[in-house]
Symmetry: C2
Subunit: 246 residues, 2 copies
């Protein structure tokens, strides 16, 4: 998949028994893949894992080593099932420390000692805000290439939007061709284009419920000219099978 050869990559790790049990619909990975795509970042892995420290440690270590950015979602509140912060600290071999700035923010909104647990961060973590954010707004905790986001979708979205400009890179260029012939008929043409254009990601998706076409063929890459040429080659190769080009 050549689209990603030189791309900035990311992994998303959703921490939450509630998603694995089907009780809660997963919205955070869905939001992040679209946002990151628009920023030019290629999400290469999504994991949904349970609230189990050892599992989080293993996933975090592999993802932090394998991708440019890692986004975690969930497990950062004040209750017994909020185990993300200690697990991330363990993954990097650092202790958990209580941050003074976060403690101050929490004390402004809550008299409860217990809520101060939300001021605990891995040692060496930094607090990130957006360029126009007031100092009083709640920051994103980040350590190395890991960005720690909450599980509540509306808060995750607000926090990600605040910091998203720092992830912006060159965007993807995309085309699409709809074929009235099925995959078996067009596979040879697709194979050749995939071989001729290693830096263009060519995807093939049967749309069995569609009435005017059978397959959607997608083209993605950072080099607009290459993407357009790959698309053109397939349009020529498919001939009368082409329903439309986007």
């Amino acid at each position: 998949m050549g689209e990603n050869a030189a791309a900035t990559t990311a992994a998303i790790i959703v921490i939450g028994d509630e998603v694995l049990s089907g009780k809660v619909e997963e919205l955070n990975a869905r939001f992040l893949v679209r946002e990151l795509r628009a920023l030019g970042v290629a999400v290469r892995r999504i994991e949904v894992i349970p609230d189990v420290p050892d599992v989080i440690v293993d996933s975090l270590r592999a993802a932090a080593a394998g991708f440019d950015h890692v986004f975690t979602s969930g497990g950062i509140g004040p209750t017994h099932d909020d185990v993300t912060i200690p697990a991330i600290a363990a993954a990097f071999g650092v202790p958990v420390v209580r941050d003074e700035e976060l403690s101050g923010l929490i004390r402004q909104v809550s008299p409860l000692e217990r809520n101060l647990r939300m001021a605990d961060i891995p040692e060496g973590a930094t607090l990130l805000r957006g360029p126009g954010s007031a100092d009083a707004c709640w920051p994103v905790v980040a350590i190395r290439n890991v960005y720690i986001l909450p599980g509540v979708p509306s808060i995750l979205q607000r926090k990600f939007v605040m910091i998203r400009d720092r992830f912006r890179t060159s965007p993807f260029w995309s085309r699409a061709v709809y074929s009235r012939e099925g995959e078996g008929v067009i596979a040879g043409v697709l194979d050749k284009a995939a071989a001729d254009f290693p830096n263009v990601a060519i995807g093939s998706y049967p749309h069995i419920e569609a009435t005017d076409h059978k397959v959607l063929i997608t083209f993605d890459g950072r080099d607009k000219a290459l993407v357009d040429r790959a698309c053109e080659q397939i349009v020529v190769g498919l001939g009368a099978a082409v329903v439309r080009v986007e």
Copy 2:
């Protein structure tokens, strides 16, 4: 998370660049977690990974060794991006072979030589159908504890429903309590119940958009009496904070 201590476990591996790029909404893992939950199977991991053979091999090996059942979705058509079958074969160290029974089924519906690629399976794989299925219906290909499902949601659903009875185990028992106090206030009560009932999974989820409560507390386990007792202890502990019990 005691709910899963003795549970039958499963992992779901979604293979597809189209989900990672945000072009296609992920429906298959969502369907499978609910179905498996209803059958009493605890999904302990979901991964969305790209159409890259080495990545599929690594994920497959880890999941097949770590969970009772593994379900894959996607990458099994006749085009260049359909790499799941060779990757699963490689994960188990077996060659890909063309299955005669599947070849016959394909020849009935398509004259295209190319489509016979969909008759390729890992050596040693079996073809599964449901108890009442006609021999002519399209089977699920399975090898050891791995069930290979397609990416098209409507077909995946039909195939899973055909074989689902073989995964049925003792069901979960669930309760829920809604609290008008936030997590910081109730965390002590939750901690104690989590420690007192290690075989009941107790989850705590802030509902910041709700108007009549602040937190949903969930209880899940295989032992109904234990689940009910854990729920009762928290209801007593929360006192006037309880909005309702389900």
